[in-house]
Symmetry: C2
Subunit: 205 residues, 2 copies
DNA sequence: CGGTGAACTGGAACGTGTTCCTATTTTAGA
DNA sequence: TCTAAAATAGGAACACGTTCCAGTTCACCG
């Protein structure tokens, strides 16, 4: 794996030389988010995204090789924003469990305030296949980072293997719960409950 | 909710009066499994299923209102078979954790022996939306039943709320791990490892 | 047995993701 | 500044999920 970037992957921000290209990428993701939050997964139609981003269909596919790549990349951007926003706010709670629950609930609440968008991004994430592995991995890292930060609010010496495992389990449950909510199988309250129970089960200080 | 069954759902076996209909349904699911295990999700094309099942396309849609319904129903049937097969075999292991791990690993191994089929069924399961809630729920029940049975091998008096929560968490992790494997993000070994770690974390006897 | 409505067949047609092609514009280097 | 290469526009074409319809067969009731 040398310098040349992604063969079948989304163009990352770093790969884009010109400002015009960065701007195009931004416009595309903005259009994606706008359409998604208005009508969910089905409303994110490639022709509509291209039109709203003022870009040709072929160009859209040059930046994002599939609808799934597009949506997962949008998820990644949103997640990064959330993560940065959260980074400064002090997480309240005395125990690790309390802090993790608080952080996750805050995030969950944020997603639930825009159900259509959440539906679109979550479905894309779950439907992604091997070709989206890189983007998916990024999101996974962000998620476990968010959890471990809540576990150890101050810059911490070192994460043990168990810490990472715990964060991973919590991430898994959170995703499953989110899918359940997105697909209308569980209510918002149940979703929060399910996450809380899992965290307390795994994080008994 | 009166007697009339599902408006937008798959025709359940019980709803089918004639033997010919039961047979058609079986042929359709057989064709689905065959195509899926040969080429995965993408190979399960509705026209191909119809042809291989010797049924008209319209009839296929009469039995299963979408590709997702079709695949989730296939998953349900496979899962029921697995569950029944497992029901008799005694689960070995001294602790609940050991037994659950053993049972899940056996199931996982079974799925990994037919990767394409597993990919097709898992992707469908994760992509399913609200209209498939009924079928999804069935599968979820089977899964937690499998886990709780491993926890308490003998017919047990009563499951506590915590028991159910534990089973649910384990189910969530198992699904996430499976998705990771299906999408090529984690190897088979890592998948088993991840499940084992989670179970031991949640089931400390 | 005849009739009636449901189920099935065969296939056309439509929508949306994806691919592909040509003409035009932008960018980078000499 | 001029030129070659890369990127973009615009849009046709294709694949597959889904819908729909006309004609036929099947199952059940009188």
């Amino acid at each position: 794996m040398g310098v040349p970037v992604s063969s079948a992957n989304s163009l990352a921000v770093d790969d884009l030389g010109s400002a015009a290209q960065r701007d195009r990428r931004k416009r595309i993701l903005d259009a994606t988010i706008a359409l998604a939050s208005q009508g969910g997964f089905d409303a994110v139609q490639m022709r509509a995204v291209a039109e709203q981003a003022d870009v040709a269909l072929g160009t859209l596919y040059r930046y994002f090789p599939s609808k799934i790549h597009l949506l997962v990349s949008a998820l990644q951007r949103e997640f990064e924003r959330t993560e940065i926003a959260l980074r400064d706010k002090p997480v309240d709670g005395d125990t690790a469990a309390d802090r993790v629950i608080s952080a996750l609930k805050r995030t969950t609440r944020g997603m639930q305030s825009d159900p259509q968008l959440t539906e679109a991004l979550t479905r894309a994430f779950m439907f992604a296949d091997a070709s989206v592995a890189a983007e998916i991995h990024q999101v996974g890292m962000l998620l476990t980072a968010m959890v471990t930060r809540a576990m150890y609010p101050e810059g911490h010496e070192e994460l043990t293997d168990e810490d990472v495992s715990i964060a991973q389990v919590i991430g898994d449950v959170w995703l499953s719960a989110l899918v359940g909510w997105v697909t209308g199988r569980t209510s918002a309250a149940e979703t929060g409950q399910r996450i809380e129970v899992a965290v307390r089960l795994v994080l008994r200080d």
